[in-house]
């Protein structure tokens, strides 16, 4: 087995409960090296718990996790050297300036002054250079988020895990952040992220896993996941201000705006059938076009119980 065949992260039968609540119910998945991977799921799906198990912040009740072949429990020191975690919740540190904090964090990983140029590079790349002498409490939420990213990268990990990195971050910073993360990925770093912005996941990630209630619902490439979606979406625009759809189509309405409807139909339903139904009902068709299913559509269909 060559080194590249070893998964960046290998998760096998991981179980975790908090008292009576099962947060993870035997989750298994493998994330290849060099991938840009999204872990999606509604609130309470177990994403953060799984990420915390990977990073060693939470101990699984059963199962194991390996980072590039190193078990996160029995071989924790090597495993932690290979991974960087950007936690979802912000932290504070009132005693040390940002630059000192980063140097201290690098020190925990056994690095000394030889790592300082890299730390300075991180400060520049993340727009923190001017804030390097300030402490965390004086920074805005967005700035704190950047510090967390820098902290996760001080030891140059092979795998970077970002738990909701853009939550509460303005658009400009978000774009800058993704440009930087893309650069890291291009240099060979494996990136794993959770996000509520599904557009981000669709644009950035090659592989997606969807969790619901502690179980893995899907694990696939983004393209395959979109292609396997059982619905297609057709936008219909009718003429006239008081135009209405025939009753047979009302249950298919996905969304509506004035005399424009997006209908969700089983994939493969012939568009001519739809046009015929509209004409039979006396509707005057202005425009009809297909809309590609988005990751959000797929996600909603998979994670919403009543749609399954």
């Amino acid at each position: 087995m060559n080194n590249h065949a070893v998964p960046a992260i290998e998760i096998r039968d991981v179980v975790k409960s908090y008292r009576d609540i099962a947060a993870l119910k035997s989750v298994s998945l493998s994330i290849p090296q060099g991938s840009f991977f999204a872990l999606l799921g509604p609130n309470g799906a177990g994403k953060s718990t799984l990420i915390s198990v990977i990073a060693g912040l939470v101990k699984a009740d059963a199962g194991h996790v390996r980072i590039l072949g190193h078990d996160v429990v029995s071989d924790y020191a090597d495993a932690r050297r290979l991974i960087g975690l950007v936690p979802q919740e912000l932290i504070d540190e009132p005693f040390f300036a940002i630059q000192d904090l980063l140097r201290i964090q690098a020190g925990y990983f056994g690095f000394g002054q030889e790592q300082w140029p890299w730390i300075d590079e991180l400060l520049h790349n993340l727009g923190l250079w001017d804030k390097r002498k300030e402490t965390m409490p004086s920074l805005s939420g967005g700035m704190k988020r950047r510090v967390l990213i820098a902290l996760a990268l001080v030891h140059k990990p092979k795998v970077l895990v970002l738990d909701e990195p853009t939550a509460g971050v303005d658009i400009e910073l978000r774009l800058g952040l993704w440009t930087f993360i893309r650069q890291l990925h291009a240099q060979g770093m494996t990136i794993i992220l959770t996000t509520h912005y599904l557009e981000e996941a669709e644009q950035l990630c090659e592989q997606i896993a969807i969790l619901r209630e502690g179980q893995l619902l899907a694990l696939s490439s983004t393209q395959a996941l979109l292609a396997a979606h059982p619905w297609e979406y057709i936008e219909v625009t009718l003429q006239g201000e008081n135009a209405a759809l025939p009753e047979t189509l009302l249950t298919h309405i996905h969304r509506q705006q004035a005399n424009k409807w997006v209908l969700r139909l089983p994939r493969g339903q012939v568009r001519t059938e739809l046009v015929a139904q509209l004409q039979q009902a006396g509707c005057l068709l202005s425009e009809i076009r297909s809309i590609e299913a988005s990751l959000e559509d797929v996600f909603r269909a998979m994670t919403s119980k009543d749609l399954l």
Binding site: Y18, P87, I91, F95, G107, Y108
Partner: protein
């Protein structure tokens, strides 16, 4: 080899820098309050209260007060540092690193020892201007100063590990540390107590720390310094093993 211990050394330095950055509160405040104790108790207590004829009460009191300040500050350092890390959530930064549970524990203890010793030395230097403090057995002084600050550093770490809010930590300090300290013979000799209180004092591990340190300074003690050494060392060993084992299991840290 050096890189292997760099994480530990980094955390030690961080723990020391942390309390030095607020030295007015962590070093000078205990210095002032201890000198006030010395001034007030030295004035109001009768000369015979030491229980040792050859010693003035001031002379008897000073080593006890130094020890009290050292143990309280050693405890405060590790306990407050750990609970602040929990409250600010920056403890995760340490937990995400390859630092071993033993290295984390020892680094916090080092920080506690350094603060405790700094406070103790500062009090000794300032107080020696009006209370003569001849050191009779320097080796015992060093041994008990080190061991006591280590024990209280470990105890502070355990308290910080257990407490998930400041309220709990304050309860630990007010209901365990303070009574054990004030009933450890800082202000009086056990010999002047009624038998039942003497027995109760012998069950207090802090008594052996204070008594052993007093032997080092004044050459007089209520029990043999060897017994005090054995009790203090044994207490430190058990406490350290329990605390490191709890940390390794992720008790109150790795959820």
């Amino acid at each position: 080899m050096i890189a292997k211990y760099r994480g530990f050394v980094t955390l030690c330095r961080k723990e020391i820098q942390r309390f030095l950055s607020v030295s007015l509160q962590t070093v000078f405040a205990p210095l002032v309050s201890t000198l006030l104790y010395l001034l007030i108790f030295g004035q109001v207590m009768p000369e015979g209260a030491s229980g040792f004829d050859a010693l003035s009460y001031h002379q008897f009191l000073l080593p006890g007060l130094i020890m009290m300040a050292m143990l309280q500050n050693a405890f405060s350092n590790s306990s407050s540092s750990l609970i602040q890390s929990k409250m600010y959530r920056n403890l995760d930064l340490m937990l995400l690193s390859p630092l071993s549970p033993l290295a984390i524990f020892l680094a916090f203890v080092v920080g506690a020892v350094v603060r405790g010793l700094m406070v103790g030395v500062a009090i000794a230097v300032v107080a020696s201007f009006w209370v003569p403090m001849p050191v009779t057995h320097l080796a015992w002084v060093i041994v008990f100063a080190l061991l006591t600050t280590m024990v209280l550093g470990a105890l502070g770490f355990l308290a910080g590990l257990w407490a998930d809010k400041y309220d709990k930590l304050a309860a630990f300090q007010n209901f365990i540390i303070s009574p054990l300290t004030f009933l450890s013979g800082v202000f009086y000799s056990v010999a002047i107590l009624p038998p039942i209180w003497q027995t109760a004092t012998w069950l207090n591990p802090f008594f052996y720390m204070v008594d052993g340190f007093r032997y080092g300074v004044l050459g007089v003690s209520d029990v043999s310094p060897w017994l005090s050494l054995a009790v203090t060392f044994g207490f430190m060993l058990v406490l350290s093993m329990v605390t490191v084992s709890l940390l390794a299991r992720g008790w109150k840290t790795r959820r």
